[in-house]
């Protein structure tokens, strides 16, 4: 029984947000602050013949114009291990978002004048834009000394030849997903200032302040302790701010001018430059016996990552690790390719490869069910994984019950079993359809990848608390959840916990706010820190009232003994301080991998999963091709919900992105240059677009997680598109295997099917 965890709790900082007082990076001002801007290439790819900033530097009010020669340290950065992206390019422009120069001026107009005056001579070169072509031997190379195939990953288990041989039906398909823009409402940016001792301070709209610190230090040729990164309020990120964007540039300009520099991208620049969701082509082959049980699965996935690897290999790894879906698959082989091109860079985006893989996998399950005449719900029950199932990665599912629990709950909530009672043809040009999709999602980075985090917690002698976390809250509600956990463990109200936002000088490294890991890792770290302080409080209370500590209990601001309030937590804190007992502690947690991986397991296999099922009821207009989702039922396995208010919001928001992914979102490119660079032309869902959502939760606690709570920030984005596509197939009998399902695509498919 908990009294704070599990209660709907208003977001930490709610009053600041609704009054406009919450400060985001672009709201910060400092005396003498300069306006920073970056020069992007008009053509790409290209060889750089000349960059001449002399004229620009002579403009009055221009304080610095920097090019590659002005990067004192390493002129490269990376998402993880492959540092191949230049801070300021010198020889080649490889995609439209490469920065040629950085400018700091007294105001926006002067900075623009400077950018316009920098002379750049580019020699256009032929680019690589088709990842499948790029993989062929003899294909033009993106880098002269690197293969276009950055990585070919194979995950294999069981004998697929035998598996397909004994299959009585085989379903094959080719699926493509589109380039996606995160479209966070706050364009990315940074403000850099200098301290008197030379420390560079960077305020950034970011997800990984400690990693940013390292990358800034390396580029500036500084020790890491000479850089400080702070994260104010962040207006959405979804992976697009997981790695460095303009932090290094802002720091360089501050160092060059000796003044604070503000560098915030415009929306157009943001769409042109920051990392996107990988467009992926998946060839999927599924074999099954006549009763619908899967015998073998073979997947080939080709991901276009752009010219810099960024998170490409990691995304393809996660896709490969989950490609078999939430099912028992006795034999599988997955080939995942990370391919370099001159298209926009792709990296972390909510879901991280799993939305793409789930689209293909769940369309295939649908086709299988159609082929065999088995109900789509039933076929998923027959194949659903269970506790003890071995996944193709070699991971053994430690808790598999939620998979079928989500299926069942989604079926009930959506009325799936009664769907034939509902009119299929409400009007001559309308067809109603039902689609289902189930998925598996991972929590954390996977084994062999550093995945840990720390928290510092302090109780003040008056019984309030300060929580110092390096985990960014970009709207997913992390700070509120951590405050609730701290409050629960310390026996105080959540309103008595003040959260100090990420600051590499003051808050421990929590690792990136990504991979749905923050509640898990930082939550566990918070529990550990709190446990130490709780010990002090209980000892102090015990001294105070003369009862053994193990008979005492902290809750709601009071110390309880035998069900009675005997003193306050505040009093216990005061006594603890007097008694020289520590009232502050650090907590640290590293992702655990208990003895459940086979010896030959894939090195980056995950151990914690969440499951979910979504049901879409759609109406297809056969004259316009428009797909209206009448209702979307989503059920998610959360382990334990710490903040129901925040959790439901995350689930609904994820499904909203899933809806956009299915029907309207697509960043279009021609020869690697994006065409729809505004929120007018890149469509994201508005208030009049989205379907009513019927949300259910399954709470089967995850033993390793704080209070049993798993991460759910990304998962609900994944089953939406296949559920909708399956519903369209059900409605009008066409197979739509390419996202998004635009009216044009629907009409074309309808015309083809006659």
């Amino acid at each position: 029984m908990t009294s704070v965890v599990g209660r709907p709790t208003a977001r930490v900082g709610a009053v600041e947000i609704v009054t406009g007082r919450a400060q985001y990076t672009g709201d910060l001002t400092f005396p003498g602050m300069l306006w920073g801007a970056l020069l992007y290439p008009v053509h790409s790819p290209a060889r750089i013949l000349r960059i001449d900033a002399a004229k620009a530097r002579r403009i009055s009010g221009v304080m610095a114009v920097l090019t590659h020669a002005d990067v004192p340290g390493l002129n490269r950065f990376a998402y993880s291990y492959v540092e191949d992206q230049p801070v300021l390019v010198s020889e080649f422009v490889r995609y439209q978002g490469d920065a040629l120069a950085a400018v700091a001026a007294v105001d926006e107009a002067t900075a623009a004048a400077a950018l316009a005056t920098i002379e750049v001579d580019l020699e256009l070169i032929e680019g690589v834009f088709d990842p499948v072509e790029a993989m062929q031997p003899g294909a033009r190379r993106v880098w002269p000394d690197r293969n276009n195939v950055h990585e070919h990953l194979v995950i294999e288990r069981g004998d697929i030849e035998a598996g397909f041989a004994r299959a009585e039906v085989v379903v094959e398909g080719e699926y493509t997903t589109q380039l996606i823009e995160q479209a966070f409402l706050e364009p990315e940016g940074a403000v850099a200032t200098l301290e008197a001792d030379g420390t560079i301070v960077v305020y950034a709209s970011c997800q990984s302040p400690h990693r940013d610190r390292r990358q800034i230090a390396v580029a500036l040729g500084l020790a890491e302790n000479q850089v400080r990164v702070m994260t104010p309020y962040v207006g959405g990120a979804f992976g697009g701010k997981d790695e460095v964007h303009v932090q290094i540039h802002a720091a360089l300009l501050a160092r060059a001018t000796g003044r604070p520099v503000r560098l915030i991208r415009s929306r157009e620049e943001s769409i042109r430059t920051h990392v996107k969701r990988h467009p992926i082509r998946i060839r999927h082959k599924l074999g099954a016996t006549r009763d619908g049980r899967i015998t073998a699965l073979q997947v080939e996935a080709i991901g276009d990552t752009g010219p810099y690897v960024n998170a490409g290999a990691e995304v393809m790894s996660v896709l490969a690790a989950t490609a078999s879906g939430p099912y028992r698959v006795p034999a599988a082989r997955i080939d995942a390719f990370t391919v370099l091109t001159n298209n926009p860079i792709c990296g972390a985006m909510r879901g991280f490869g799993i939305p793409q893989g789930t689209f293909a996998g769940e369309r295939q399950m649908d086709k299988l069910s159609r082929e065999l005449g088995i109900d789509p719900l039933e076929i998923r029950f027959r194949n659903g994984l269970e506790t003890g199932t071995v996944l193709p990665t070699g991971a053994v599912v430690r808790e598999g019950r939620p998979m079928k629990a989500c299926l069942e709950k989604a079926a009930e909530r959506s009325g799936w079993r009664e769907r034939e009672e509902i009119e299929r043809e409400p009007a001559p040009h309308q067809r109603r359809g039902w689609g289902l999709a189930a998925n598996i999602f991972t929590v954390g980075f996977g084994r062999s990848v550093p995945d840990s985090g720390g928290v510092n917690l302090e109780m003040t002698p008056d019984g309030a608390a300060i929580l110092r976390t390096g985990a960014a809250d970009m709207g997913q509600g992390a700070h509120t959840v951590l405050a609730q956990i701290a409050a629960e463990e310390l026996g105080i109200g959540v309103e008595a916990v003040r959260v100090v936002k990420p600051d590499t000088d003051r808050t421990p490294d929590a690792g990136p706010a990504s991979a749905s890991r923050t509640t898990f890792v930082s939550g566990n770290a918070t529990r550990r820190a709190a446990a130490a302080i709780r010990a002090s409080l209980l000892e102090a209370a015990s001294l105070s009232i003369g009862r053994p500590a193990d008979e005492l209990h902290l809750e709601g601001g009071y110390v309880h003994a035998a069900g009675e309030q005997v003193t306050t937590v505040a009093e216990a804190a005061r006594v603890a301080k007097e008694a020289n007992l520590p009232l502050h502690a650090d907590g640290f947690y590293a992702m655990e991998y208990p003895e459940q991986l086979l010896d030959d397991a894939y090195p980056h296999a995950h151990q914690v999963f969440t499951f979910g099922t979504q049901v879409a009821r759609v109406l297809v207009d056969t004259q316009t091709g428009r797909v209206t989702v009448e209702e979307l039922t989503l059920v998610q396995d959360a382990g334990r919900v710490i903040n129901p208010g925040g959790a439901i919001g995350q689930l609904e928001g994820g499904a909203a992105m899933g809806w956009g992914y299915a029907l309207i979102e697509e960043l279009k490119t021609t020869d690697g240059r994006t065409a729809n660079n505004s929120l007018e032309s890149y469509l994201i869902p508005t208030s009049v677009d989205l379907p009513p959502m019927n949300v259910g939760l399954v709470e089967i606690p995850e033993p390793l997680a704080p209070f049993g709570a798993k991460g759910i920030g990304e998962a609900t984005l994944t089953p939406t598109a296949p559920a909708i596509a399956n519903a369209v197939a059900d409605a009008v009998g066409i197979s739509l295997d390419d996202l998004p399902l635009t009216p044009e695509r629907v009409l074309t498919a309808l015309a083809r099917s006659g």
Binding site: D27, L185, G649
Partner: protein
């Protein structure tokens, strides 16, 4: 340069500036009112909405010169001291925001809408906020919060 008179949240400001600057920039940079946000700079997202002479407008599309002599209400003017406006309280109570970046614009659009339609149905609210993009939520809580504020508390 022009001498402009802007009455913002009840206080008159004399601002000397290029009249072709956007009102959003003047509010944020000259008057320090950073509640209104720049999400796109071209009127697509609604993050910059303020009330100008009683109507909600995208302040990134209003020239400072056009606002000369106008009565402007920004998010900073919604609460009465420490007492939140019913819309603000309703947004908190119903989890009508996550990252909060769209929230000032969303609240001002809602405020302007309720001035014209004090007792809206949910569908009317949905239409009214369709020019305000939110990437974190599915808008359901926002709509519910506006409807609740309209039926619950005192009128704006």
């Amino acid at each position: 340069m022009a001498e402009l008179s802007l009455r913002v949240n009840g206080t008159t400001h004399q601002v000397k500036t290029d009249p072709c600057r956007m009102l959003l920039s003047v509010l944020r940079e000259d008057l320090g009112l950073t509640g209104a946000k720049e999400g796109c700079g071209q009127g697509d997202c609604g993050s910059c909405v303020v009330i100008l002479n009683g109507r909600a407008v995208n302040s990134c599309l209003v020239y400072a010169g056009q606002a000369d002599g106008a009565e402007i209400v920004t998010i900073e003017g919604l609460a009465e001291g420490e007492v939140l406006h019913p819309l603000q309280q309703s947004f908190i109570d119903r989890w009508a925001f996550q990252c909060g970046f769209c929230t000032p614009g969303m609240l001002m659009t809602a405020y302007g809408f309720l001035l014209e339609t004090p007792h809206p149905e949910a569908d009317e609210v949905r239409k009214a906020i369709s020019g305000n993009l939110c990437r974190c939520t599915n808008y359901a809580n926002i709509v519910a919060a506006v409807v609740a504020a309209a039926t619950g508390g005192p009128q704006p």
